[in-house]
Symmetry: D2
Subunit: 413 residues, 4 copies
């Protein structure tokens, strides 16, 4: 029968080589339209405008994170912390589905399509839909995702400061951007995982690998995730969607698909989204292609600001983003926006779309929020930051805010 065939299904991954789909449940999940949608959302949004190789999909990331979960569970089993087959499938399912709720071009559009609903909550709702469709087969996965499972380390493998999500995305993003310094020693980190009183811990001799993982994470933030050109494109994408909504509300004639109109014309809040399965259907039909096609169309729109903004993105004529530790001068920003608006023959309403100030945060590691725990040979536990040698490192990597300025290229400081 089909079962034994399915369990030998293998996929090729450029990072890890062969990935085994070890159960029909996994195969069914991966084939489900809610998962298939992740094939059409890039992991790194518009980062390909800076790093041309970075076109990898969220689907490939989900698959990769599942592979790391398989390895982590195997290693913990070798160390005497085996879990039941049900719990194993639960953990694999949870990590596969952890990103279900992401919007297209995540950072740029999240919080805008649905009011006040973080993507984790959207993911959870969609998991519950999926669970219903699959007759409760995902109960365990959902428990693990929600941290209601009796083995807390399973949740920590899905979501913590050392979870399979982060290990995969750091590795994968390094690989596809070609920023090789982001490469981390995933294999070694996995080998160093252990369990103490149900919690995930790291063996003492793995602490240099953890430190290096945090430094790699730091580097990837500044080199990739918060790269100025990437930020500029994301700000621009946000402006475009905001301007499109304004146009719709103002009754201007711009082309739009039915699905996107739902979220632009009258943005649902989390209650609407929770109660209305139709909304969820529409949301899960949105993907990167849908947005890109709108941008191409609007680049020919009659509304001049929307047209201008879309043209900027399509032709990669991006504005300049700069960082500063001091708050930017609002007058200078207004002035720059004003001049650009004049140059383009646009009225004052265009100013905030052409120049603005912002803030970015870079929380490589939060020492106070469920820190990474280190276990020494005597099974004594300390948080990473409490190890005297490593406190500096932890301090260095703690949350950091930077002001940003988004200014027309024509403006010169």
């Amino acid at each position: 029968m089909g079962h034994s065939h399915l369990t030998n299904k293998i996929l090729n991954d450029p990072l890890y080589g062969f990935i085994r789909l070890e159960s029909p449940l996994i195969l069914n999940l991966l084939d489900h339209p809610l998962l298939q949608r992740l094939r059409y959302i890039r992991q790194l949004g518009m980062t390909y405008l800076v790093y041309p190789g970075a076109t990898h999909s969220r689907w490939a990331h989900a698959l990769g994170a599942m592979h790391l979960m398989q390895n982590a569970l195997d290693i913990l089993q070798h160390k005497g912390y085996g879990v039941s087959q049900d719990d194993r499938l639960g953990a694999l399912g949870a990590i596969l589905m952890h990103d279900l709720g992401h919007a297209p071009f995540s950072h740029a559009l999240e919080g805008f399509l649905i009011k006040d609903m973080p993507h984790e909550e959207i993911s959870l709702l969609l998991m519950q839909d999926l669970n219903q469709a699959m007759d409760g087969a995902l109960n365990n996965a959902i428990d693990i995702f929600e941290n209601q499972h009796e083995l807390p380390f399973l949740h920590e493998l899905v979501s913590s400061q050392l979870d399979m999500d982060r290990l995969d995305y750091l590795s994968r993003d390094s690989f596809f951007t070609g920023v090789t310094e982001g490469i981390i020693g995933v294999d070694r980190i996995l080998q160093m995982l252990n369990v103490h009183q149900g919690k995930l811990v790291v063996d003492r001799k793995g602490v240099y690998s953890i430190e290096k993982y945090l430094m790699a994470r730091n580097l990837m933030y500044w080199q990739v995730y918060l790269h100025k050109t990437v930020l500029s494109a994301e700000y621009l994408m946000g402006h475009i969607i905001r301007r499109a909504r304004e146009c719709r509300i103002a009754g201007l004639n711009i082309q739009i698909s039915e699905d996107l109109a739902i979220f632009l014309d009258n943005p649902p809040d989390s209650n609407d989204f929770r109660n209305n399965p139709e909304l969820r259907s529409a949301y899960t039909r949105l993907d990167d292609a849908e947005i890109m096609v709108h941008l191409k169309t609007w680049a020919k729109a009659s509304e001049p600001l929307l047209q201008h903004l879309c043209g900027q993105l399509m032709n990669r004529q991006l504005s300049r983003v700069t960082f500063s530790s001091d708050e930017p001068d609002p007058n200078r920003i207004h002035e720059a926006g004003l001049q650009e608006a004049r140059r383009l023959g646009l009225d004052d309403y265009a100013i905030p779309y052409l120049a603005h100030a912002g803030i970015v945060q870079n929380a490589v590691y939060r020492p106070d929020h469920q820190p990474i725990l280190i276990q020494d040979r005597q099974r004594k536990i300390q948080s990473l930051g409490a190890l005297s040698d490593h406190a500096y490192c932890v301090d260095l990597l703690a949350e950091r805010r930077q002001y940003t300025q988004y200014l027309p290229k024509t403006e010169r400081p």
Copy 2:
């Protein structure tokens, strides 16, 4: 001034590391909308349905092929075959633009949007548009592309059985699919290049690398380019577009963008395309996203066959493709299509969309058509196939035809 700044522009590539954009001309070309469009066409169409990492763009390929061209020219210069700066830029420009004419989802749609016009000819037309826009700066590049340059080896580096196009795409496709066996020794092959009477030749000691390159190419054909599931998706995409055209011609109401309508409602021929710049504009606005969004829309169309086919693709419910060396039995195929049509409640018109026979060709190496030339230490030239040791290999890899059958999964032989 800006010039010296521009020439230090560097891009990151996951395969080759840093790629230097050595001149403002190159930078301007890469930024031009006709090139930028290649960011939105995947190099391998729907291959990501089988190899999830294979989402790399034609733009990244063009960039990579340019990098190999830089290396090849440097190596030939070391061997005493330096070229002028103009010819160098010409060769770099030609390889950057060689794929301009590709349609979205190339194999599936080519020859269908424009009648009787191979993509090389479309590329040439678009290059000429570009050249006009850039005041003749691409004259040299076009001469090289058309093999009208006085140094034939420059054209051969752009287009031959050992060109930078092939070297890059084999390497890149291996890398992103994770089919590591397709990896070829690009560096060694480049080191073995030489020039003899203006023609590109390979030094004798490079012959094993060439042989291995051909075997890798052979492997990539069967493992990737002609993978049965990839073929199935491409056939399906072709059916969808053909059915959409039928619907349009029959006046059925299906949603379509203006740009795509131009090519579906009344396909232009090469003359139209040559004479009508508007057609070329529309063509170059088409990309993968445009097609995918149509598929999502048509998956909800009222026309049942189109709806069914699009649903198949979106949900990855692909039909089965098998190979055979004998011509398939038309009766069996018709019968399979008929049964599937009945199962779906469709009339006979649906049959050829549900089951059909086809042919694929796999020309790894054409011994008779501008063969790869080998130069021994005495500078004697022989074609690869004429070397007694290697004749078998050449024979093995020569053109091969296979019949294919495309059948519903429900059908069992």
Copy 3:
């Protein structure tokens, strides 16, 4: 207790990452002096004179081959061909020990230290010594090595045309030489292994990987194993040892260690070696360092020919090797040797050490000797060469002889 600790022992390998030593038996074997000796014999003899990275040891190869064996057995278990823990350890032990009998600088010295005894037989004798010392713990391993185990595929994994030995050494030699084209798709090949009536077979869809593996093997032969400079160094090493023996027999005063003297003064035959454990002890104290130190010493010897030959090797002043398909002209070779002897002020006895003819064989694949078997979906078995598409390839790669000439660099054809 110690057991569970031991089974978590992990080693780092540059090719495969972490390698798990899954049992105390494996750990004890690896630590035994007979295995430790392999740390001091390079896998590729003097190939580092051409490829500077190729200093990897036979010990690392044994470890790597064991790792591939672990993977192969895991994969076969997934396909329903699990073996008992005893058989598993037997297979791992057999592959770990398969190279025990190698002499230092293998190709150069083998067949010379002990008359008429291939290294496989020496390996077997040493395994039996080891087995005695370990109270019969290696019975199973020896049965598998000798092909007397009831599951023939276990022997085939140790020794056949597709064994773990070859898969590892091709990969490892590619890696350390930097001849990346020798890289083979080990993971894919392992995934394609299967068992049919107790014999090792390859699934049909793996045939392109096998073909590519054979082409890589072919390339490695010509690019590395039979590289002219490597051959020249090996011939020279053979000459040195032969000349040293002559000197010893002639009673000339040259420094020599006790252990080496045993094998030079009066070379034992296989009977001596079988019956005299002292001989085996002396043999297993010989390693690359022992030979190199003799060469350094003899480079200052009073005997002029020996001095000259050792100086050639130490200072990398190697003679020229050329290939030909026709038998070389003995007169020309004699004349070249004679002139070189005169140049060096040496008598005629030196001639054959300065110029000679030889033969090399390159058996990439033997179609008639236990061919690789391919299994199609209907579980029908064919030999690789019998598949119509692939017969050419097999033919191409079959045994090939070439004549060699070894001539002083001063000689010009």
Copy 4:
């Protein structure tokens, strides 16, 4: 003539691919016996006992560092800091020769064979010998090595906290040990190099790469260079040589080669070494093989302590090393040594060879000693540690001392 042929000589490196020997001078240097000797000294001494792949030679490292120098000079040339061909060859020569003076098993034997003479001084003496033999062709290289060249950045590329030596050895040691986390972004670091008033500086945007390079260096220290088992083997090697000297001085009969006897019987000081070319000849005939063969011989010596120590090393029966931040208790160490001596039937003289305390230092980065300089866009220069964000990192990585204990495995705390 030969010149143009030589300049196309290419070597294969597993890390960097092809390395071009760009001038006959380079080729002659690499072929010289003083350089060839580095083929026979492993870069990482006995680290292969822990990381089996780490058998790479100092010769391969010298070659790799030269390759990075070529790249660095090319990049600086692109930025407007080209140097003359003479200076280029000087820099290449200096980096090729920078390790000439290393003793076999460097850390273990250095400072012991020649009294009070660091290896850099030995290198310089040998360079001067070489220069004489090559008629002054290395004047420029020696000036650069000694920091007497008018372009200080050339010296800094050879020897500083960001020199090509470190960049290559970190990369190479990571590669061959398989400790992939030690991999650094060499290409990116090289791209970020610049020159300011003749000094080497790093462009501001490269600072994260520098930070990551330092973290990788830190990791490599604890994971590889100061790995407890590696330290244990190095301590043991030191004990062996020290014990052998005692035996020689006491007139005990142990076998020894003429060359090694020179350095054991009556160790020369730097004056002797400077004035006596014979001493330098003897020194440069010592290599790893010479030492290993002595160890094998002494493992059968009649002197019981020497025999025991050599047996420990040959059979990898290593003592236990532990770290502590507090000074170890001398009584406990003495007691442990005493018990082990008794167990072995040895008198008290053996105690310090069986247990001792030591200190290791790990200076990843010295903020006060010629710090790495960072240049911002306005060409303002700051030291790495003065950048507010990065002060912590610098602090973290500054010099650190640890006490070590070397104790018999039988001892339990």
